[in-house]
């Protein structure tokens, strides 16, 4: 009997297509933002969009402090840094942004007012504004005001700018040169990070030898640090895993073709997983990539299971070996895919990516093992010394079917441990504890805060409205209702730059009747200017500053705006007058922490769901309740793993719960193959299980050395869970005779 070649060709063509697709899309598509792991809150789309916008606005800010050397050197160094960063095309200095705002305010200088000036004019004190302007004309800062004589003698633009930008951080202080600006593009894009890093590196090469130092601030640098670390860790884990794979395979099969086959299957499965993820989502989160590295351990199992069918004295033909493997591997793959499918219910793109990546990768590994591997392997494996040794160990440890009482005792102990872990174990939901910043960057940011006195806050006010105009009016109403100190806490408000039509009309009338009408003519006479028509020309226009748009949005027909604040403030209760106003204080850190807690609990429930889905699939495929025995090892492992990991000092988090999905998938596979190990090749099947578990523990266990807590917690959870699944796998044969288990039904 020969194997058909067309499925193999189809699979190879699919892998090649996936490879080209992934290669063409991967650049700039890797997301390293931990916030992407957070759910797009399905309960409140406006809140989710506002938080996302606030994050973008905050994360796109970068600032630098240049210290050391002479003033001249610092100024030249600042110019050079600004030039190099601007040349990347990603950086826009605040100087440029400030000019755009100024141009806009100039065009609208007689159209709206600061809160302070509105109060003055409403009180009929326009003379105070005129007197202040006259003093400014004589004062030292009026050196460059000449151009304003004809257009804005009352210096209304200056007054507006003073309100709008009053909270801007100091541009320089304490002998340091400060450069700040905005990154135009996602700071999580690797190409953006690399371009900025190159500019900074080049600057340092030039200026560090001259005694200048640079302190950096901004999410971009943390993201770059995280990405570099992730890249390093992924490549390290991948490299060590592959090295271990080569060594183990040679020891097991005395074949170099075997590890090459395994590597080919790993690469094919990962490329397929990546391509499908990129195709569906357009990007891939670094968490999915790290998970991909961990998935190597599961993918390589499939090839291993096929290769071990070639061990022993009577391996049989390729077709016979494939036939022996087809059913258990298909059931194992189906149950694992089912377990990962449970992740799709999460409204978290990054975890949906993990699910899709895992499902596609496992499906490809299965198809390749069934259709491609038998053709390429060619019966080249022989029983190596490693296989013989593992067979002896496996015979001692895994061959016997334990007494049912053992199963009950272990299950009871696992339940007890799970309860103890739930009751007394440490959990971690605080987003600040999940991502440890680079100590170097943290120190540089602390220095920047010290120099500029500007402590960024992630808190903001969220104002909503049924229409764009209503949202602006609501924002104005809110600001109007705040106490003076609370008003000062508002760092930026779009309505102060682009007020409502109602407010604009009101202000224009105030300016006309209480300032220009009674005071302009006398003012320009005092100043010695020759024309009183400075504010009576055609209506001037200017492009709306990008700043305004960055603070406003619309989600599902609701218009909203965000007002960053320096600290949380007490909000007034909406009165009948502003009955339709809707405002709230949003503190993303608290929000994220709450959400992480919610999703940790939900993920734990989802693991239970995955076990349930697996149970249903087993019963459906096997058509008998006895098939559920295959679930016992994974069930006990899932119960016992979290308390054990907590005992190792790693708190239980959302990411630990995610690791349990892999435990369910692989654990059920081991059980299925344990139940299959009933014929003459049974001892080699057990060798396959041990080898598979060993590979998974090595590859995923290495994640336990990651500096990123979510990754570390994921890795250790999987490694412990897989180990437990392996040693408990004989429980899958509960009730069957020792050493003979065909009665289980495969």
């Amino acid at each position: 009997m020969t194997l058909p070649r067309w499925p193999a060709l189809l699979i190879a063509a699919g892998v090649l297509a996936a490879l080209f697709f992934s290669a063409s899309r991967i650049a700039g598509s890797v997301d390293t933002d931990i916030m992407s792991l957070l759910p797009a809150d399905t309960h409140d789309g406006v809140l989710a969009a506002a938080v996302k916008r606030a994050n973008e606005a905050a994360s796109n800010r970068v600032s630098f402090a240049i210290e050391g050397g002479s003033v001249e050197a610092r100024q030249a160094a600042r110019e050079e840094l600004a030039g190099a960063l601007s040349a990347t095309g990603w950086f826009r200095a605040d100087d440029e942004e400030g000019e755009a705002v100024w141009a806009y305010l100039f065009a609208n200088r007689a159209s709206f007012l600061c809160e302070r000036d509105r109060a003055l004019l409403e009180a009929g004190e326009g003379a105070a504004i005129a007197a202040d302007a006259l003093r400014q004309w004589y004062g030292p800062s009026s050196l460059g005001f000449g151009g304003l004589v004809a257009r804005d003698p009352l210096l209304l633009t200056n007054r507006l700018a003073g309100c709008v930008l009053s909270v801007a951080p100091r541009a320089a202080t304490g002998g340091a040169e400060i450069l700040s600006g905005r990154i135009r593009g996602s700071v999580y894009r690797l190409d953006v990070q690399d371009d900025v890093a190159r500019a900074v590196k080049s600057w340092r090469e030039t200026w560090a030898p001259r005694g200048l130092t640079l302190a950096r601030g901004g999410a971009l640098f943390h993201a770059a640090h995280g990405a570099a670390q992730a890249r390093f860790e992924v490549s390290l884990i991948g490299s060590v895993t592959l090295a271990a794979l080569l060594l183990l395979y040679w020891l097991m099969f005395r074949s170099f073709r075997a590890p090459v086959l395994a590597l080919t299957m790993v690469a094919s499965a990962l490329v397929t997983g990546l391509a499908v993820t990129l195709l569906v989502f357009g990007s891939v989160h670094v968490m999915a990539l790290v998970f991909g590295a961990a998935l190597i351990g599961m993918i390589v199992d499939y090839t291993t299971y096929y290769l071990v069918t070639g061990l022993g004295d009577r391996p049989g033909t390729r077709a016979e070996r494939r036939r022996r493997l087809l059913r258990p591997l298909t059931v194992g793959m189906a149950t694992s895919v089912g377990a990962f499918a449970a992740l799709l219910v999460f409204p978290v793109p990054a975890f949906q990516q993990v699910a899709l990546f895992g499902m596609a990768g496992l499906a490809m590994a299965w198809a390749g093992t069934i259709w491609l591997v038998p053709l390429i392997e060619g019966g080249s494996v022989v029983t190596g010394p490693g296989a013989a040794r593992i067979a002896v160990i496996a015979d001692k440890g895994l061959a016997r079917a334990p007494h049912p009482a053992w199963g009950a005792v272990l299950a009871a102990m696992a339940l007890l441990a799970a309860f103890a872990g739930w009751r007394y174990g440490a959990v971690l939901d605080d987003v600040r504890g999940l991502q440890k910043p680079s100590p170097i960057l943290a120190a540089e940011e602390a220095r920047l805060r010290e120099l500029t006195g500007f402590a960024p806050s992630t808190a903001f006010l969220l104002v909503r409205g049924d229409t764009a105009e209503a949202a602006i009016r609501n924002e104005e109403a809110l600001i109007g209702r705040l106490a003076e100190d609370d008003r000062k806490a508002i760092l930026l408000a779009a309505s102060r730059i682009d007020p409502s039509a109602q407010r604009r009309a009101h202000d224009e009338a105030l300016i006309r009747t209480h300032l220009l009408g009674p005071h302009l003519r006398a003012f320009i006479a005092t100043l010695g200017a020759g024309d009183a028509g400075a504010y009576s020309g055609a209506r001037e226009t200017a492009e709306m500053p990008a700043l305004v748009q960055s603070l406003r949005g619309e989600t599902g027909g609701t218009f909203w705006s965000i007002l960053p604040v320096s600290a949380p403030i007490a909000l007034p209760v909406a009165t009948a007058e502003d009955a339709r106003a809707s405002w709230s204080m949003v503190e993303p850190v608290a929000l994220y922490t709450g959400l992480f807690g919610d999703y940790r609990r939900l993920a734990t429930l989802a693991v239970a769901g995955a076990l349930l889905a697996t149970a249903l699939l087993l019963v459906l495929i096997e058509r008998r309740v006895g098939a559920l025995r295959a679930l016992i090892p994974a069930l006990i492992a899932v119960l016992a793993t979290p308390p054990l990991v907590m005992a190792l000092g790693i708190p239980f988090s959302f990411f630990s719960a995610m690791g349990l999905f892999l435990v369910v998938g692989a654990g059920v596979d081991y059980a299925i193959f344990q139940r299959e190990a009933a014929d003459a090749n049974s001892r080699w099947t057990r060798v396959g299980i041990v080898l598979a578990a060993l590979m998974t523990c090595i590859s995923v266990g290495l994640l336990g050395f990651s500096s990123v807590l979510p990754v570390r917690s994921f890795g250790v959870t999987v490694a412990v869970g897989i180990f437990l699944s392996l040693v408990l796998s004989p429980l899958a044969r509960l009730g069957g005779p020792a050493g003979s288990n065909r009665g289980a039904g495969w």
């Binding site: 002479s70 003033v71 001249e72 100024q75 605040d94 400030g98 000019e99 100024w102 141009a103 806009y104 305010l105 100039f106 065009a107 006259l134 003093r135 400014q136 004309w137 004589y138 004062g139 030292p140 800062s141 009026s142 050196l143 460059g144 005001f145 000449g146 151009g147 304003l148 004589v149 004809a150 257009r151 804005d152 210096l155 633009t157 200056n158 007054r159 700018a161 003073g162 309100c163 709008v164 930008l165 009053s166 909270v167 801007a168 951080p169 100091r170 541009a171 320089a172 202080t173 304490g174 002998g175 040169e177 400060i178 100043l527 010695g528 200017a529 020759g530 001037e540 200017a542 492009e543």
Partner: protein, 204 residues
């Protein structure tokens, strides 16, 4: 925005850049005091300055110059530009920013032109108020002193920053034992500012 923005942009640029010139004043005023008849301006280091000034602002579009009088004080920590006539406005520039008090009232942070303007002033002031000639040279191309017919010396400061050069123009400083006159601008903006110094009189 087109032409309408031009005056505003220019004003911003000038306001921003002119602070360099303002900040330079105390140092210039502190320069010469040494040997008679007129010592080289670069030979002097003065830690503190206390000078009366008269400022004339010849601004294009105004029929008459804006004349103000007051007192300039400066030390390593701060610059105080105290205009006493026609208004009583005390402007204090430190490395932390600018405050202004009117008619002896409480000092208020200056927000006009945004913190950016104040920060620019503070930046220049912080550097210049260390009283080092090198610091002045970092902002301007400083000519060698030339001797006028009157025997006084004259130093020409050309802003290193091209935009400042366009907006403000050159700065001429003349004096003998002290800085006596500073003239800012002329070519770039069309505006001209002349500050003349005298020794501060008690109670002035």
């Amino acid at each position: 925005m087109g032409d309408a923005a031009r005056p505003a942009r220019k004003a911003v640029a000038m306001a921003r850049l002119s602070v360099f010139a303002i900040a330079a004043l105390p140092l210039l005023a502190a320069l010469p005091v040494m040997a008679a008849p007129c010592p080289s301006p670069k030979d002097i280091q003065v830690a503190e300055v206390n000078r009366a000034f008269v400022q004339e602002r010849h601004i294009k579009g105004l029929s008459k110059p804006l004349v103000s009088r007051g007192e300039l004080q400066a030390d390593a920590e701060r610059i105080i530009w105290h205009m006493k006539d026609p208004f009583d406005v005390k402007t204090v520039i430190t490395s932390d920013g600018i405050t202004e008090s009117v008619s002896g009232g409480p000092a208020q942070p200056v927000g006009a032109g945004a913190g950016e303007l104040g920060a620019s002033v503070a930046r220049s002031a912080a550097a210049l108020m260390r009283g080092q000639w090198d610091e002045l040279s970092s902002l301007f191309n400083v000519s060698s002193p030339s001797t006028l017919e009157s025997g006084e010396w004259e130093v020409l400061l050309t802003p290193l920053n091209e935009r400042m050069q366009q907006a403000v123009g050159d700065i001429e400083v003349t004096g003998c034992a002290d800085v006596e006159r500073i003239e800012i601008g002329g070519e770039g903006s069309g505006d001209r500012h002349v500050i003349t110094f005298a020794n501060a009189e008690p109670g002035q």
